[in-house]
């Protein structure tokens, strides 16, 4: 039984609210009229009361002063000026969305997300909208899977309207919006489309008062138009990303480099067991290209580790080829820190000789290497 929540925020490519709103509008879902501005002067007129919202890819912007209301053009310009330049959870506000203020009689919740365990899209809805869905009691959340071969069917939509106890005209609009949301989810290669709140206005009209979108970054080849929010990563991670190196900066002082994501994680864990703290996750991947090895070591050096722990399992790649690359870079540029190396697999004896010759400390098992690295990291 599924009890998860939409995996939003960090999984795929986050879009700002303005782009999420655009996606909904493009697929025929009613959204309040609005525009994006990055300076008060860009606002030349408003048709009535507006809400000014900071465009940042993080939640909790209301509490941080990133959402304000205004009744006149002057007021609206003043609010735009106040919000632009704010820093919300580490994100500088560069632009705001100024949109028609929606009178809300009721707030609903509606989302479609990828459920990885079921391998299907998950439709979620609740009559308790406007708050974080994680704080809504389990029994108040309606969840149904959508089989991609048949899509979202009318019987499911009737079921949804029944569960939320929606009166007919509202139920019809919500059903229509859910249907369009699913089309958008498929057409835009979304991992998550969330409308919270889905607002019911005093006259009974239903509009998407907010929009969140996470797009699958593996789908970008067929969506050249999607614009990514700057990813929330460090400058060094950005540099690694540009060089095609899988790299995550961590808190510890031991630079870990291994081949394969699972093995790199396992190496970090082995360090943790002996009291060492990993400072990097650097996955060399399946390469033995000396140039790639050199680049990986350069990134590692910039993370300023006290010790480097290298763990290579040569299955398809030859250990001695990797070792030659390491030898070259350590000899020509230095590693910047003592290196403990464990290398295992195809041509491992030759590889160990090469690494010893380069002045590296070698170990035969992952645990032994982790222990040596942890000891060195504790020395002054």
């Amino acid at each position: 039984m599924h009890t998860g929540f939409p995996q939003k925020g960090v999984d795929g490519m986050k879009l700002m609210e303005a782009e999420g709103r655009e996606i909904l509008a493009r697929h025929g879902i009613p959204v309040p009229a609005g525009r994006v501005v990055s300076a008060p002067g860009e606002l030349d007129g408003i048709a009535g009361p507006v809400v000014v919202k900071a465009l940042v890819p993080v939640g909790g912007r209301g509490k941080a002063g990133g959402v304000k209301f205004a009744g006149t053009l002057e007021e609206a310009r003043a609010r735009v000026g106040e919000i632009i330049g704010l820093e919300i959870k580490g994100c500088r506000v560069r632009s705001v969305l100024v949109s028609e203020k929606v009178d809300i009689a009721r707030e609903l919740y509606l989302s479609i997300s990828v459920d990885r365990d079921a391998g299907m899209a998950l439709l979620m809805a609740s009559a308790l909208g406007g708050m974080d869905i994680e704080s809504v009691p389990e029994e108040k959340i309606y969840r149904r899977y959508i089989n991609p071969l048949i899509g979202l069917q009318s019987y499911q939509l009737r079921d949804l309207a029944g569960h939320l106890a929606l009166e007919k005209p509202v139920g019809q609009q919500v059903s229509d919006i859910a249907r369009k949301l699913y089309s958008a989810f498929v057409a835009e290669d979304a991992e998550l489309l969330e409308i919270n709140p889905l607002a019911v206005m005093p006259g009974g009209k239903v509009v998407a008062a907010d929009a969140k979108a996470v797009i699958d970054d593996d789908s970008l080849f067929r969506h050249p138009g999607h614009r990514e929010v700057e990813p929330d990563i460090t400058p060094l991670e950005q540099e690694a990303r540009e060089r095609g190196i899988s790299f995550v900066q961590l808190d510890g002082n031991i630079g870990v480099i291994a081949n394969g994501a699972g093995l790199t994680m396992a190496t970090l864990d082995a360090l943790g067991l002996v009291g060492g703290n990993g400072g990097t996750f650097l996955d060399l991947g399946g390469t033995d290209d000396p140039e790639k090895v050199k680049q990986a070591f350069r990134i590692l050096k910039k993370a300023r580790p006290k010790v480097i722990l290298m763990n290579i399992f040569g299955g398809i790649t030859r250990c001695d080829t990797v070792a030659t690359g390491v030898h070259e870079v350590v000899r020509s540029e230095g590693a910047g820190a003592p290196v403990v190396a464990r290398i295992k697999g195809w041509y491992e004896e030759r590889a160990r000789e090469i690494l010893k010759d380069a002045g590296l400390i070698t170990a035969t098992t992952m645990e032994e290497a982790a222990r040596k690295a942890a000891e060195l990291s504790r020395e002054a």
Binding site: G119, P148, G262, L263, T264, M265, G315
Partner: protein, 295 residues
């Protein structure tokens, strides 16, 4: 005995003329696998490593005598073309698909798995190193054959190199493998731990199972629940990577991420332990656990 692959496995390689396709066709043949056909649109009539190349899967099926047609398919084509090629394979009657391709859009993966369910096809991957049955001399994948030994332990893994590490230490300690299956590192994959456990549980050639899991999702927790509810009697052992991984960060694999407190190594270890699974703290401990259980 083994699962998924055996001596009757006949393989078709999609994308055989590419660098990866050619290199691994050679390696699969060297291991003893019967690679009977390759497909690359526009390259029909040529051959790679002695394997005839066809323009389409349908053409290959027509061109080969009934008893020599492929029953297993491996995909090396780039992500934008993988879904189309998989549909073609299933439409042509193939029921075992191994998808090596990485970065397939998740919508494509979901559609493909739903169609595979409808066709009752077994899909391994995407983003998998493949499947190998050492005693049957059958390998459909990219794993280094040298670390495997014929034996009676079934291995199920979400990882690549880490699997080789685990398997190598098992082989060195005398624990060979009936079959080793890589589930794939993507969020949505075909064969799950549950299905693989069921297949191994029913296989007379397998005495015990080793699961190599990692952070992200709840596949390991679901497997733990299944071990209890389905009454899996053969002993199960596990290693879970990512105990020290920080939340919210994707650790290399697209699926390896702890989100909002879910998918942690801790939760997986706890669920597995509660289901009677012995969990190793480092990969090399697996062999000791197997020995301790009298295997």
């Amino acid at each position: 005995m083994a699962i998924i692959l055996d001596r009757d496995t006949r393989v078709m390689v999609q994308g055989i003329t590419g660098h990866q396709g050619t290199q691994h066709t050679r390696a699969m043949k060297e291991f003893g696998t019967a690679v009977v056909a390759g497909v690359t649109p526009g390259k029909g009539g040529t051959s790679v490593e002695g394997v005839p190349v066809f323009n389409s899967i349908a053409e290959a099926m027509r061109g080969l005598p009934a008893g020599a047609r492929p029953n297993t398919w491996i995909c090396f084509v780039p992500a934008p073309f993988a879904k189309d090629a998989s549909y073609e394979a299933m439409e042509s009657g193939i029921r075992k698909l191994v998808i090596i391709t990485e970065h397939i859009p998740v919508q494509d993966a979901m559609q493909l798995m739903a169609y595979a369910d409808y066709k009752k096809a077994v899909v391994v991957g995407p983003n998998t190193p493949g499947v190998i049955s050492p005693g049957e001399r059958a390998k459909v994948g990219i794993m280094p054959a040298a670390v495997f030994r014929p034996g009676r332990i079934g291995v199920i893994s979400r990882s690549g190199t880490l699997t080789y590490e685990v398997v190598n230490s098992m082989s060195e300690a005398g624990f060979g493998q009936s079959t080793c299956i890589g589930l794939g590192g993507d969020p949505v994959v075909g064969t799950s731990f549950i299905e693989a456990l069921d297949m191994f549980n029913a296989d007379p050639g397998t005495d015990a199972m080793v699961m190599v899991g990692e952070i992200g999702g709840s596949a390991e927790e679901n497997a733990a629940e299944h071990i209890v509810s389905a009454g899996i009697r053969k002993p199960v052992f596990a290693y879970i990577a990512g105990r020290t991984a920080p939340p919210g960060r994707r650790m290399g694999h697209a699926g390896a991420i702890v989100l909002r407190g879910r998918g942690t190594a801790e939760s997986k270890v706890k669920a597995l332990t509660a289901a009677g699974v012995k969990v190793a703290r480092v990969p090399s401990e697996i062999s000791g656990l197997l020995k301790g259980a009298g295997l």
